[in-house]
Amino acid sequence: MDNQFLLSLIVGISVGGAAGYLGSLMLSRRMALVAGPLGHLTLPGIALGLMYGFDVSLGAFPFVIFGIVLIWLFEMRTKLPMEALTAVVFASGVAITFLFLPIEQAEATLVGDISKVRFGEAIISVVLALLLFLVVKKIYSKIVLINISEELALSEGINIKKYNLIYLGSIALIVALGVKMVGGLLTAALVAIPASAARNLSGNLAQYAFGAMVIGIISSFLGIFFFKLTGFPAGPLIILASTLIFLISLISITFRK
């Protein structure tokens, strides 16, 4: 097994696991939808990273933060549904990118490229993914309660603004890490699909959260493994692997009923 492959695998597994775990929080309150537009908005950042040779996550991060601030401001000012707002952000990201993105960079921008990840980048990604996991674990039950009812959360003395900020920050980080793996187009799937599959398979919160993480890890492993075998880009393969697990989970539901 060569080192580059191993490096890709380690990054893929840690980011995929963290994305699945965080995704299990995002399924409620329809936040999973938000990751899509944010992913698209990172496209200019990824393109810049590729054109000037720096880490695409680094390029993506300011754009995600910008997108989150934008969505947050829109929501506060206009009270439009979150979906409508994200659509605005979504389209702008793609439009800006295609103004200046060289066509030979398009594939890596849109569907990611984890095959050439460097050692330093890999270490940073893994550390950030682990950190993200710990932060999400810490805020998990509070965010679940906030998602169920902000009033109940407040009556429990939970500082909603603080936890929402940490939560949005976590989403920003996972999008920035995710785009390296699956590109700007597929980031939403990285968080949404493992959680959806886990939801079909689990009977309580612990199974669900843990299940989403495990499905994220397995999908990343399978995707990168099949990339090695077939040479197709890893990003789409990771997403397809999780889709396959989702389909299996659907079958399991049908049989249970």
Binding site: S24, L27, S28, R29, S141, V144, L145, N147, I148, S149, E150, E151, L152, L154, S155, E156, R199, S202, G203, N204, L205, A206, Q207, Y208
Partner: protein, 229 residues
């Protein structure tokens, strides 16, 4: 001996979206009281509870007893179907020890094996009882109830109020109850506030619920009857 104060409210004013919702409301709650907030729909009852909880900004004074533990049972929660949440998970969100959760569930007449059931699979009456139990864990001194029987069928409604009376006896609870149901007031409360944006009456129900005050509260839509016990 004078009973201890749990809550004092003075000259409370709440505005939402440039509209005055509550005007010049003052009242007090003592330990062991059951205070009912009575009024028609849109009178500001739920807003009052939320303001007391600190969810809505206001002018005036709200003074809670020091280190008070408040339990809150909201009017209605959307059904939790997005995520697989068992009843045990729901109580874990409040860090309720399993033994206490079991005890509280028993006191709202659930069997212990209910813990593993998914919240999304409950009937609305069962869900409401779960919410009441949730408000009760970790021993609150005061419970705030917002129309606890909304969307619950009549037999379940009676169960819930009888349950409240029973729990109050067992646990030395103070209760603040929002309702638009007059019969509840006579059955359960020591005091009543009639609220239709402005306070219309305040005091023991047998004294202050006169035909005139009810006429002012409901604008003549409600037939008047007084329970004799």
């Amino acid at each position: 001996m004078e009973k201890k104060f749990i809550l004092k409210v003075r000259n409370l004013n709440v505005r939402l979206d440039h509209q005055s919702i509550i005007e010049n409301l003052s009242f007090e709650v003592k330990r062991g009281d059951t205070l009912t907030i009575l009024g028609p729909n849109g009178a500001g009852k739920s807003v009052l509870l939320k303001t007391l909880l600190g969810l809505i900004s206001y002018r005036g004074e709200i003074e809670w007893a020091k280190a008070i533990k408040i339990g809150y049972v909201p009017q209605r929660l959307p059904f939790i179907k997005d995520i697989p949440l068992s009843i045990k998970d729901f109580f874990d969100l409040k860090r309720s020890p399993e033994k206490e959760t079991e005890a509280v569930l028993t006191s709202v007449r659930f069997r212990e094996d209910f813990l593993r059931k998914k919240i999304g699979d409950l009937s609305s009456g069962q869900f409401q009882r779960v919410l009441i139990a949730w408000g009760l864990v970790r021993n609150p001194q005061i419970l705030l109830f917002d129309e606890p029987t909304t969307g619950v069928d009549v037999s379940a409604e009676e169960t819930i109020y009888n349950l409240l009376a029973k729990l109050k006896g067992e646990r030395d609870l103070t209760i603040l109850l929002v309702t638009h149901d007059l019969s509840i007031v006579y059955k359960f409360s020591t005091d009543v506030i009639c609220l239709n944006r402005q306070p219309i009456c305040y005091g023991p129900p047998q004294e202050v619920l006169t035909p005139e005050s009810l006429q002012r509260l409901y604008g003549g839509e409600v037939g008047y009857y007084q329970h004799k016990h």
